[in-house]
Amino acid sequence: MCGIVGLFLKDPKLEPKLGEMLTDMLITMTDRGPDSAGIAIYSGARDGLGKITIQSAHPEKDFKNLDGDLHDAIGQPVAMLVKSTHAVLEVPIGQLDAARSALSHLRPDVKVMSVGDSIEIFKEVGLPKDVARRFDVARMTGTHGIGHTRMATESAVTTMGAHPFSTGPDQCLVHNGSLSNHNGLRRELIRKGMSFETQNDTEVAAAYVSQKLKEGEDLGTALESGLDDLDGFFTFVVGTKNGFGVVRDPIACKPAVMAETDEYVAFGSEYRALVNLPGIENARVWEPEPATVYFWER
Protein backbone atom coordinates (compact mmCIF):
# COMPACT_ATOMS: atom_id res chain seq x y z
CA MET A 1 0.00 0.00 0.00
CA CYS A 2 1.07 3.60 -0.65
CA GLY A 3 -0.66 6.94 -0.85
CA ILE A 4 -0.56 9.34 -3.77
CA VAL A 5 -1.79 12.92 -3.96
CA GLY A 6 -1.52 15.38 -6.82
CA LEU A 7 -2.74 18.85 -7.72
CA PHE A 8 -2.65 20.59 -11.08
CA LEU A 9 -3.83 24.19 -10.77
CA LYS A 10 -5.80 25.82 -13.55
CA ASP A 11 -6.49 29.02 -11.62
CA PRO A 12 -3.29 31.00 -10.88
CA LYS A 13 -4.99 32.51 -7.83
CA LEU A 14 -4.47 29.18 -6.03
CA GLU A 15 -0.73 29.02 -6.77
CA PRO A 16 0.32 30.65 -3.47
CA LYS A 17 -1.61 27.89 -1.63
CA LEU A 18 -0.28 24.87 -3.56
CA GLY A 19 2.07 23.75 -0.78
CA GLU A 20 -0.54 24.20 1.91
CA MET A 21 -3.16 22.17 0.01
CA LEU A 22 -0.69 19.40 -0.87
CA THR A 23 0.54 19.17 2.72
CA ASP A 24 -3.00 18.61 4.00
CA MET A 25 -3.61 15.95 1.33
CA LEU A 26 -0.28 14.24 2.04
CA ILE A 27 -0.82 14.03 5.80
CA THR A 28 -4.31 12.55 5.26
CA MET A 29 -2.62 9.70 3.36
CA THR A 30 -0.34 8.80 6.32
CA ASP A 31 -2.28 5.56 7.00
CA ARG A 32 -1.41 4.33 3.52
CA GLY A 33 2.31 5.02 3.82
CA PRO A 34 3.88 5.94 7.15
CA ASP A 35 7.50 4.99 6.46
CA SER A 36 8.61 7.81 4.16
CA ALA A 37 7.17 10.66 2.17
CA GLY A 38 8.10 12.98 -0.64
CA ILE A 39 6.87 15.81 -2.74
CA ALA A 40 7.67 17.21 -6.19
CA ILE A 41 6.67 20.80 -6.68
CA TYR A 42 6.75 22.81 -9.90
CA SER A 43 7.25 26.43 -9.03
CA GLY A 44 7.28 28.85 -11.95
CA ALA A 45 10.54 28.82 -13.88
CA ARG A 46 12.66 31.98 -13.68
CA ASP A 47 14.16 33.44 -16.84
CA GLY A 48 17.45 31.87 -17.72
CA LEU A 49 17.81 29.99 -14.43
CA GLY A 50 17.62 26.27 -13.73
CA LYS A 51 17.42 24.33 -10.47
CA ILE A 52 19.18 21.30 -9.03
CA THR A 53 17.73 19.85 -5.83
CA ILE A 54 20.28 17.82 -3.87
CA GLN A 55 20.22 15.72 -0.72
CA SER A 56 22.90 14.77 1.76
CA ALA A 57 23.08 12.57 4.84
CA HIS A 58 25.58 15.11 6.21
CA PRO A 59 24.20 18.49 5.17
CA GLU A 60 26.38 20.58 7.55
CA LYS A 61 29.53 19.19 5.93
CA ASP A 62 28.37 18.82 2.31
CA PHE A 63 26.42 22.08 1.94
CA LYS A 64 29.11 24.24 3.63
CA ASN A 65 30.34 26.76 1.04
CA LEU A 66 28.98 24.58 -1.76
CA ASP A 67 27.65 27.64 -3.64
CA GLY A 68 31.13 29.21 -3.55
CA ASP A 69 32.87 25.99 -4.59
CA LEU A 70 30.40 25.51 -7.49
CA HIS A 71 30.84 29.13 -8.56
CA ASP A 72 34.59 28.59 -8.74
CA ALA A 73 34.12 25.38 -10.73
CA ILE A 74 31.70 26.68 -13.39
CA GLY A 75 32.59 30.37 -13.34
CA GLN A 76 28.95 31.43 -13.03
CA PRO A 77 26.85 32.74 -10.15
CA VAL A 78 25.23 30.04 -8.00
CA ALA A 79 22.46 30.59 -5.43
CA MET A 80 21.80 27.97 -2.75
CA LEU A 81 18.79 27.58 -0.47
CA VAL A 82 19.28 24.91 2.22
CA LYS A 83 16.21 23.13 3.59
CA SER A 84 17.19 20.54 6.21
CA THR A 85 18.83 17.60 4.37
CA HIS A 86 18.08 19.11 0.94
CA ALA A 87 19.33 22.18 -0.89
CA VAL A 88 18.14 23.88 -4.06
CA LEU A 89 20.94 25.23 -6.27
CA GLU A 90 20.05 27.87 -8.83
CA VAL A 91 22.40 28.19 -11.79
CA PRO A 92 22.14 29.61 -15.33
CA ILE A 93 20.09 27.18 -17.39
CA GLY A 94 22.93 26.50 -19.83
CA GLN A 95 25.16 25.46 -16.93
CA LEU A 96 22.94 22.72 -15.45
CA ASP A 97 25.00 19.85 -16.89
CA ALA A 98 28.30 21.51 -16.00
CA ALA A 99 27.11 22.18 -12.45
CA ARG A 100 25.89 18.61 -12.05
CA SER A 101 29.16 17.21 -13.25
CA ALA A 102 31.17 19.57 -11.00
CA LEU A 103 28.95 18.56 -8.09
CA SER A 104 29.82 14.89 -8.48
CA HIS A 105 33.51 15.77 -8.05
CA LEU A 106 33.12 18.43 -5.36
CA ARG A 107 30.67 16.51 -3.16
CA PRO A 108 30.65 12.86 -4.27
CA ASP A 109 28.27 11.80 -1.46
CA VAL A 110 25.55 14.26 -2.42
CA LYS A 111 22.52 12.79 -4.22
CA VAL A 112 20.70 14.64 -6.97
CA MET A 113 16.92 14.59 -6.40
CA SER A 114 15.88 16.56 -9.48
CA VAL A 115 17.14 18.83 -12.25
CA GLY A 116 15.14 21.25 -14.37
CA ASP A 117 13.60 24.67 -14.92
CA SER A 118 10.94 24.46 -12.26
CA ILE A 119 10.93 21.08 -10.45
CA GLU A 120 12.05 20.68 -6.83
CA ILE A 121 11.87 17.31 -5.04
CA PHE A 122 12.05 16.80 -1.28
CA LYS A 123 11.79 13.33 0.21
CA GLU A 124 12.88 11.62 3.41
CA VAL A 125 12.20 8.69 5.71
CA GLY A 126 9.63 9.48 8.42
CA LEU A 127 5.98 10.28 8.94
CA PRO A 128 4.47 12.51 6.23
CA LYS A 129 3.73 15.28 8.74
CA ASP A 130 7.36 15.31 9.88
CA VAL A 131 8.70 15.25 6.34
CA ALA A 132 6.34 18.09 5.32
CA ARG A 133 7.36 20.18 8.34
CA ARG A 134 11.07 19.53 7.81
CA PHE A 135 10.97 21.04 4.33
CA ASP A 136 8.26 23.62 5.12
CA VAL A 137 6.19 22.28 2.21
CA ALA A 138 3.11 24.23 3.37
CA ARG A 139 4.75 27.51 2.37
CA MET A 140 5.77 26.41 -1.11
CA THR A 141 4.05 27.93 -4.10
CA GLY A 142 3.75 26.59 -7.61
CA THR A 143 1.62 25.49 -10.55
CA HIS A 144 1.40 21.76 -9.85
CA GLY A 145 2.76 19.20 -7.46
CA ILE A 146 2.74 15.48 -6.63
CA GLY A 147 3.16 13.85 -3.22
CA HIS A 148 3.63 10.27 -2.07
CA THR A 149 3.47 8.41 1.23
CA ARG A 150 5.30 5.11 1.11
CA MET A 151 4.70 1.72 2.68
CA ALA A 152 7.68 -0.15 1.29
CA THR A 153 7.10 -3.62 -0.11
CA GLU A 154 9.69 -4.03 -2.77
CA SER A 155 12.97 -2.41 -1.65
CA ALA A 156 14.49 -0.84 1.47
CA VAL A 157 13.09 2.09 3.45
CA THR A 158 15.67 4.74 2.56
CA THR A 159 15.65 8.33 1.38
CA MET A 160 16.50 7.25 -2.15
CA GLY A 161 13.78 4.57 -2.07
CA ALA A 162 11.14 7.20 -1.27
CA HIS A 163 9.07 8.72 -4.09
CA PRO A 164 8.88 10.84 -6.27
CA PHE A 165 11.57 9.54 -8.61
CA SER A 166 13.03 11.90 -11.16
CA THR A 167 15.00 10.50 -14.07
CA GLY A 168 14.84 13.36 -16.58
CA PRO A 169 14.71 17.15 -16.58
CA ASP A 170 11.53 18.46 -14.90
CA GLN A 171 10.11 14.91 -14.85
CA CYS A 172 8.89 12.89 -11.90
CA LEU A 173 6.81 9.80 -11.20
CA VAL A 174 5.15 8.30 -8.14
CA HIS A 175 3.74 4.79 -7.89
CA ASN A 176 1.31 2.74 -5.85
CA GLY A 177 1.83 -0.93 -6.63
CA SER A 178 4.70 -3.18 -7.61
CA LEU A 179 6.26 -4.17 -10.92
CA SER A 180 7.38 -7.66 -11.82
CA ASN A 181 9.54 -7.06 -14.90
CA HIS A 182 11.67 -4.18 -13.62
CA ASN A 183 14.97 -6.05 -13.51
CA GLY A 184 14.85 -6.92 -17.20
CA LEU A 185 13.66 -3.45 -18.14
CA ARG A 186 16.41 -1.84 -16.04
CA ARG A 187 19.05 -3.78 -18.00
CA GLU A 188 17.53 -2.60 -21.30
CA LEU A 189 17.39 1.00 -20.13
CA ILE A 190 21.00 0.88 -18.92
CA ARG A 191 22.00 -0.30 -22.42
CA LYS A 192 20.17 2.74 -23.79
CA GLY A 193 22.22 5.02 -21.51
CA MET A 194 19.97 5.56 -18.48
CA SER A 195 21.55 5.42 -15.02
CA PHE A 196 19.98 4.25 -11.77
CA GLU A 197 20.44 5.18 -8.11
CA THR A 198 18.51 2.27 -6.53
CA GLN A 199 17.20 -1.28 -7.00
CA ASN A 200 13.67 0.11 -6.77
CA ASP A 201 10.96 -0.92 -9.28
CA THR A 202 9.43 2.57 -9.45
CA GLU A 203 12.71 4.13 -10.51
CA VAL A 204 12.60 1.81 -13.55
CA ALA A 205 9.11 3.06 -14.45
CA ALA A 206 10.29 6.66 -14.13
CA ALA A 207 13.34 5.96 -16.30
CA TYR A 208 11.15 4.14 -18.83
CA VAL A 209 8.95 7.23 -19.24
CA SER A 210 12.04 9.51 -19.41
CA GLN A 211 13.56 7.31 -22.12
CA LYS A 212 10.34 7.46 -24.17
CA LEU A 213 10.19 11.26 -23.81
CA LYS A 214 13.84 11.43 -24.87
CA GLU A 215 12.96 9.37 -27.95
CA GLY A 216 10.42 12.05 -28.85
CA GLU A 217 7.14 10.65 -27.55
CA ASP A 218 4.79 13.02 -25.75
CA LEU A 219 3.71 12.24 -22.20
CA GLY A 220 0.41 10.64 -23.25
CA THR A 221 2.07 8.34 -25.79
CA ALA A 222 4.86 7.43 -23.34
CA LEU A 223 2.26 6.34 -20.78
CA GLU A 224 0.37 4.37 -23.46
CA SER A 225 3.60 2.55 -24.29
CA GLY A 226 4.05 1.82 -20.58
CA LEU A 227 0.76 -0.09 -20.56
CA ASP A 228 2.33 -2.57 -23.02
CA ASP A 229 5.81 -2.74 -21.52
CA LEU A 230 5.36 -2.52 -17.75
CA ASP A 231 4.12 -5.69 -16.06
CA GLY A 232 2.62 -5.55 -12.59
CA PHE A 233 0.32 -3.46 -10.46
CA PHE A 234 0.42 0.26 -10.79
CA THR A 235 -1.32 3.52 -10.38
CA PHE A 236 1.17 6.13 -11.61
CA VAL A 237 1.00 9.88 -11.35
CA VAL A 238 3.63 11.70 -13.40
CA GLY A 239 4.68 15.30 -13.66
CA THR A 240 6.44 17.27 -16.37
CA LYS A 241 7.22 20.96 -16.58
CA ASN A 242 3.79 21.74 -18.07
CA GLY A 243 1.84 18.58 -17.48
CA PHE A 244 0.31 16.12 -15.08
CA GLY A 245 -0.65 12.55 -16.04
CA VAL A 246 -2.37 9.53 -14.49
CA VAL A 247 -2.47 5.89 -15.60
CA ARG A 248 -3.60 2.63 -13.94
CA ASP A 249 -2.82 -0.94 -14.99
CA PRO A 250 -5.62 -2.97 -16.67
CA ILE A 251 -6.56 -4.81 -13.46
CA ALA A 252 -6.72 -1.52 -11.51
CA CYS A 253 -6.54 -2.91 -7.97
CA LYS A 254 -4.67 0.13 -6.70
CA PRO A 255 -7.18 2.80 -5.81
CA ALA A 256 -7.49 6.21 -7.47
CA VAL A 257 -9.95 9.06 -7.24
CA MET A 258 -9.88 12.28 -9.26
CA ALA A 259 -11.69 15.57 -8.89
CA GLU A 260 -11.90 18.43 -11.35
CA THR A 261 -13.25 21.96 -11.03
CA ASP A 262 -12.60 25.16 -13.01
CA GLU A 263 -9.75 25.84 -10.57
CA TYR A 264 -7.87 22.52 -10.41
CA VAL A 265 -7.47 18.85 -11.22
CA ALA A 266 -6.75 16.77 -8.11
CA PHE A 267 -5.69 13.17 -7.57
CA GLY A 268 -5.97 11.11 -4.38
CA SER A 269 -5.51 7.43 -3.57
CA GLU A 270 -8.69 7.89 -1.56
CA TYR A 271 -11.47 10.48 -1.52
CA ARG A 272 -10.39 11.37 2.03
CA ALA A 273 -7.34 13.15 0.58
CA LEU A 274 -9.57 15.51 -1.41
CA VAL A 275 -12.21 16.51 1.14
CA ASN A 276 -10.65 19.84 2.18
CA LEU A 277 -10.08 21.18 -1.34
CA PRO A 278 -12.02 24.33 -2.19
CA GLY A 279 -15.32 23.62 -3.96
CA ILE A 280 -14.96 19.83 -3.66
CA GLU A 281 -18.73 19.55 -2.96
CA ASN A 282 -19.43 20.62 -6.55
CA ALA A 283 -16.37 19.07 -8.24
CA ARG A 284 -16.69 16.34 -10.85
CA VAL A 285 -15.38 13.32 -8.93
CA TRP A 286 -14.58 10.06 -10.70
CA GLU A 287 -12.39 6.97 -10.68
CA PRO A 288 -9.89 6.84 -13.55
CA GLU A 289 -10.64 3.88 -15.83
CA PRO A 290 -8.17 0.97 -16.02
CA ALA A 291 -5.57 1.05 -18.82
CA THR A 292 -6.57 4.59 -19.73
CA VAL A 293 -4.17 7.51 -19.91
CA TYR A 294 -5.29 10.86 -18.53
CA PHE A 295 -3.20 13.98 -18.80
CA TRP A 296 -3.49 17.70 -18.51
CA GLU A 297 -1.09 20.24 -19.92
CA ARG A 298 -1.01 23.99 -19.70
Binding site: P255, V257, Y271, R272, L274, V275, V285, E287
Partner: protein, 229 residues
Protein backbone atom coordinates in the same frame (compact mmCIF):
# COMPACT_ATOMS: atom_id res chain seq x y z
CA UNK B 1 -33.42 11.22 15.07
CA UNK B 2 -29.93 10.59 16.46
CA UNK B 3 -27.48 12.91 14.72
CA UNK B 4 -23.80 12.08 14.84
CA UNK B 5 -21.00 14.43 13.75
CA UNK B 6 -18.19 12.13 12.64
CA UNK B 7 -15.74 15.03 12.47
CA UNK B 8 -16.27 15.78 16.18
CA UNK B 9 -17.10 12.46 17.79
CA UNK B 10 -15.02 10.02 15.77
CA UNK B 11 -15.58 6.67 14.08
CA UNK B 12 -15.16 4.42 17.12
CA UNK B 13 -17.80 6.34 19.05
CA UNK B 14 -20.22 6.04 16.11
CA UNK B 15 -19.67 2.35 15.52
CA UNK B 16 -19.78 1.41 19.20
CA UNK B 17 -23.09 3.32 19.58
CA UNK B 18 -24.47 1.45 16.58
CA UNK B 19 -23.16 -1.91 17.80
CA UNK B 20 -24.83 -1.33 21.18
CA UNK B 21 -28.26 -1.41 19.47
CA UNK B 22 -29.52 -4.93 19.99
CA UNK B 23 -32.72 -6.29 18.52
CA UNK B 24 -35.62 -3.86 18.78
CA UNK B 25 -34.72 -0.31 19.72
CA UNK B 26 -36.59 2.95 19.85
CA UNK B 27 -33.58 4.81 18.38
CA UNK B 28 -34.48 3.82 14.84
CA UNK B 29 -33.33 6.86 12.84
CA UNK B 30 -29.68 7.89 12.64
CA UNK B 31 -27.88 10.55 10.65
CA UNK B 32 -24.11 10.74 10.20
CA UNK B 33 -22.70 14.12 9.15
CA UNK B 34 -19.17 15.04 8.03
CA UNK B 35 -18.16 11.54 6.87
CA UNK B 36 -15.37 13.03 4.69
CA UNK B 37 -14.49 9.69 3.12
CA UNK B 38 -13.76 7.94 6.46
CA UNK B 39 -13.40 4.15 6.49
CA UNK B 40 -15.74 1.54 8.00
CA UNK B 41 -18.66 3.90 8.67
CA UNK B 42 -21.58 1.90 10.12
CA UNK B 43 -19.81 -1.41 9.59
CA UNK B 44 -21.10 -4.40 11.55
CA UNK B 45 -24.55 -3.00 12.44
CA UNK B 46 -27.06 -5.65 13.60
CA UNK B 47 -30.35 -3.85 14.30
CA UNK B 48 -33.43 -2.80 12.28
CA UNK B 49 -32.51 0.89 12.13
CA UNK B 50 -32.33 3.50 9.36
CA UNK B 51 -28.96 5.26 8.98
CA UNK B 52 -28.33 8.14 6.56
CA UNK B 53 -24.73 9.15 5.84
CA UNK B 54 -24.61 12.71 4.48
CA UNK B 55 -21.59 12.65 2.20
CA UNK B 56 -19.10 10.30 0.61
CA UNK B 57 -17.56 7.35 2.43
CA UNK B 58 -14.23 5.48 2.34
CA UNK B 59 -13.48 1.75 2.53
CA UNK B 60 -16.03 -0.80 3.77
CA UNK B 61 -18.99 1.41 4.61
CA UNK B 62 -21.90 -0.76 5.83
CA UNK B 63 -19.71 -3.86 5.75
CA UNK B 64 -21.30 -7.01 7.22
CA UNK B 65 -24.60 -5.15 7.57
CA UNK B 66 -27.45 -7.10 9.20
CA UNK B 67 -31.02 -5.74 9.28
CA UNK B 68 -30.20 -2.03 8.94
CA UNK B 69 -31.15 0.24 6.03
CA UNK B 70 -28.11 2.43 5.31
CA UNK B 71 -28.32 5.33 2.83
CA UNK B 72 -25.23 7.06 1.51
CA UNK B 73 -25.94 10.58 0.19
CA UNK B 74 -22.72 10.66 -1.80
CA UNK B 75 -20.35 8.10 -3.31
CA UNK B 76 -18.90 5.03 -1.61
CA UNK B 77 -15.29 3.87 -1.48
CA UNK B 78 -14.01 0.31 -2.02
CA UNK B 79 -15.85 -2.65 -0.48
CA UNK B 80 -19.16 -0.98 0.33
CA UNK B 81 -21.61 -3.47 1.91
CA UNK B 82 -18.96 -6.17 1.76
CA UNK B 83 -20.34 -9.42 3.16
CA UNK B 84 -23.77 -7.90 3.86
CA UNK B 85 -26.08 -10.42 5.56
CA UNK B 86 -29.47 -8.67 5.35
CA UNK B 87 -31.03 -5.21 5.28
CA UNK B 88 -30.38 -2.66 2.55
CA UNK B 89 -27.66 -0.25 1.44
CA UNK B 90 -28.67 2.54 -0.97
CA UNK B 91 -25.98 4.75 -2.54
CA UNK B 92 -26.99 7.95 -4.33
CA UNK B 93 -23.64 8.32 -6.14
CA UNK B 94 -21.05 5.88 -7.48
CA UNK B 95 -19.46 2.88 -5.78
CA UNK B 96 -15.78 2.00 -6.00
CA UNK B 97 -14.23 -1.46 -6.41
CA UNK B 98 -15.83 -4.70 -5.14
CA UNK B 99 -19.18 -3.28 -4.02
CA UNK B 100 -21.24 -5.99 -2.33
CA UNK B 101 -18.37 -8.49 -2.45
CA UNK B 102 -19.14 -11.85 -0.80
CA UNK B 103 -22.59 -10.54 0.24
CA UNK B 104 -24.87 -13.22 1.67
CA UNK B 105 -28.19 -11.38 1.70
CA UNK B 106 -29.99 -8.05 1.66
CA UNK B 107 -30.22 -5.49 -1.13
CA UNK B 108 -27.49 -3.16 -2.43
CA UNK B 109 -28.65 -0.29 -4.66
CA UNK B 110 -26.12 1.88 -6.50
CA UNK B 111 -27.79 4.83 -8.27
CA UNK B 112 -24.62 5.87 -10.11
CA UNK B 113 -21.98 3.54 -11.57
CA UNK B 114 -20.17 0.68 -9.88
CA UNK B 115 -16.47 0.19 -10.50
CA UNK B 116 -14.59 -3.08 -11.07
CA UNK B 117 -15.38 -6.38 -9.35
CA UNK B 118 -18.93 -5.46 -8.30
CA UNK B 119 -20.56 -8.50 -6.64
CA UNK B 120 -17.36 -10.56 -6.65
CA UNK B 121 -17.93 -13.91 -4.93
CA UNK B 122 -21.47 -12.88 -3.91
CA UNK B 123 -23.43 -15.54 -2.03
CA UNK B 124 -27.08 -14.47 -2.01
CA UNK B 125 -27.12 -10.66 -2.01
CA UNK B 126 -29.22 -8.78 -4.60
CA UNK B 127 -27.54 -5.83 -6.33
CA UNK B 128 -29.25 -3.17 -8.48
CA UNK B 129 -26.98 -0.73 -10.34
CA UNK B 130 -28.68 2.15 -12.16
CA UNK B 131 -25.53 2.93 -14.19
CA UNK B 132 -22.68 0.72 -15.42
CA UNK B 133 -20.53 -1.93 -13.75
CA UNK B 134 -16.76 -2.27 -14.24
CA UNK B 135 -14.54 -5.14 -15.33
CA UNK B 136 -14.52 -8.56 -13.63
CA UNK B 137 -17.87 -7.99 -11.99
CA UNK B 138 -19.55 -11.07 -10.46
CA UNK B 139 -16.28 -13.04 -10.59
CA UNK B 140 -16.99 -16.46 -8.99
CA UNK B 141 -20.44 -15.24 -7.93
CA UNK B 142 -22.28 -18.09 -6.23
CA UNK B 143 -25.89 -17.00 -5.73
CA UNK B 144 -28.11 -13.93 -5.73
CA UNK B 145 -29.12 -11.53 -8.49
CA UNK B 146 -27.46 -8.55 -10.16
CA UNK B 147 -29.53 -6.11 -12.21
CA UNK B 148 -27.58 -3.56 -14.25
CA UNK B 149 -29.47 -0.81 -16.10
CA UNK B 150 -26.36 0.35 -17.98
CA UNK B 151 -23.42 -1.58 -19.46
CA UNK B 152 -21.01 -4.19 -18.10
CA UNK B 153 -17.22 -4.10 -18.46
CA UNK B 154 -14.80 -6.84 -19.48
CA UNK B 155 -14.94 -10.45 -18.25
CA UNK B 156 -18.43 -10.34 -16.77
CA UNK B 157 -19.23 -13.35 -14.59
CA UNK B 158 -15.87 -15.07 -14.96
CA UNK B 159 -15.89 -18.54 -13.33
CA UNK B 160 -19.52 -18.00 -12.38
CA UNK B 161 -21.47 -20.40 -10.14
CA UNK B 162 -25.24 -19.91 -9.75
CA UNK B 163 -25.71 -16.14 -9.45
CA UNK B 164 -28.01 -14.57 -12.08
CA UNK B 165 -26.86 -11.48 -13.96
CA UNK B 166 -29.30 -9.22 -15.83
CA UNK B 167 -27.85 -6.47 -18.03
CA UNK B 168 -29.87 -3.93 -20.00
CA UNK B 169 -27.01 -2.41 -22.01
CA UNK B 170 -23.93 -3.88 -23.63
CA UNK B 171 -21.49 -6.40 -22.20
CA UNK B 172 -17.90 -5.71 -23.23
CA UNK B 173 -16.95 -9.36 -22.84
CA UNK B 174 -18.05 -12.44 -20.94
CA UNK B 175 -15.66 -14.23 -18.61
CA UNK B 176 -14.85 -17.94 -18.66
CA UNK B 177 -17.94 -20.18 -18.43
CA UNK B 178 -20.39 -17.26 -18.46
CA UNK B 179 -23.03 -17.40 -21.22
CA UNK B 180 -26.19 -15.60 -22.24
CA UNK B 181 -29.33 -17.48 -21.26
CA UNK B 182 -33.00 -17.24 -22.12
CA UNK B 183 -35.22 -14.83 -20.12
CA UNK B 184 -38.14 -16.91 -18.84
CA UNK B 185 -41.20 -15.73 -16.91
CA UNK B 186 -39.57 -16.28 -13.54
CA UNK B 187 -36.64 -14.07 -14.62
CA UNK B 188 -38.91 -11.22 -15.75
CA UNK B 189 -40.54 -11.47 -12.31
CA UNK B 190 -37.17 -11.28 -10.52
CA UNK B 191 -36.12 -8.23 -12.53
CA UNK B 192 -39.47 -6.53 -12.06
CA UNK B 193 -39.30 -6.96 -8.30
CA UNK B 194 -35.69 -5.82 -8.04
CA UNK B 195 -36.31 -2.76 -10.22
CA UNK B 196 -39.12 -1.81 -7.86
CA UNK B 197 -37.13 -2.43 -4.68
CA UNK B 198 -34.07 -0.80 -6.23
CA UNK B 199 -36.02 2.43 -6.94
CA UNK B 200 -35.44 1.95 -10.67
CA UNK B 201 -38.87 0.88 -11.97
CA UNK B 202 -39.38 4.32 -13.55
CA UNK B 203 -36.11 3.96 -15.47
CA UNK B 204 -36.33 0.52 -17.11
CA UNK B 205 -38.65 -2.36 -17.96
CA UNK B 206 -37.91 -6.07 -17.34
CA UNK B 207 -38.20 -6.94 -21.06
CA UNK B 208 -35.21 -4.69 -21.83
CA UNK B 209 -32.80 -6.98 -19.95
CA UNK B 210 -30.75 -9.97 -21.06
CA UNK B 211 -29.76 -12.76 -18.70
CA UNK B 212 -26.28 -14.17 -18.19
CA UNK B 213 -25.42 -17.23 -16.15
CA UNK B 214 -23.05 -20.14 -15.74
CA UNK B 215 -22.54 -22.72 -18.50
CA UNK B 216 -21.77 -25.06 -15.56
CA UNK B 217 -18.80 -26.61 -17.34
CA UNK B 218 -16.08 -25.19 -15.14
CA UNK B 219 -17.23 -25.93 -11.62
CA UNK B 220 -19.03 -29.27 -11.87
CA UNK B 221 -17.19 -32.34 -10.76
CA UNK B 222 -17.10 -34.69 -13.74
CA UNK B 223 -16.41 -38.35 -13.01
CA UNK B 224 -14.72 -38.76 -16.39
CA UNK B 225 -12.05 -36.32 -15.25
CA UNK B 226 -11.49 -37.94 -11.84
CA UNK B 227 -7.88 -38.79 -12.56
CA UNK B 228 -7.14 -35.13 -13.29
CA UNK B 229 -8.15 -33.90 -9.81
Amino acid sequence: MQSFDLGKEGLRALNSSLHALKGQTNMTAWEVINPKGAHAIAAGVDAPVDITVRGSTGYYCAGMNKQATIRIKGSAGPGVAENMMSGAVIIDGDASQYAGATGRGGLLVIKGNASSRCGISMKGIDIVVHGNIGHMSCFMAQSGNVVVLGNAGEALGDSLYEARIFVRGTVKSLGADCIEKEMRDEHFAIVEELLRRGEADHKAKPEEFRRYGSARKLYNFNIDNASAY
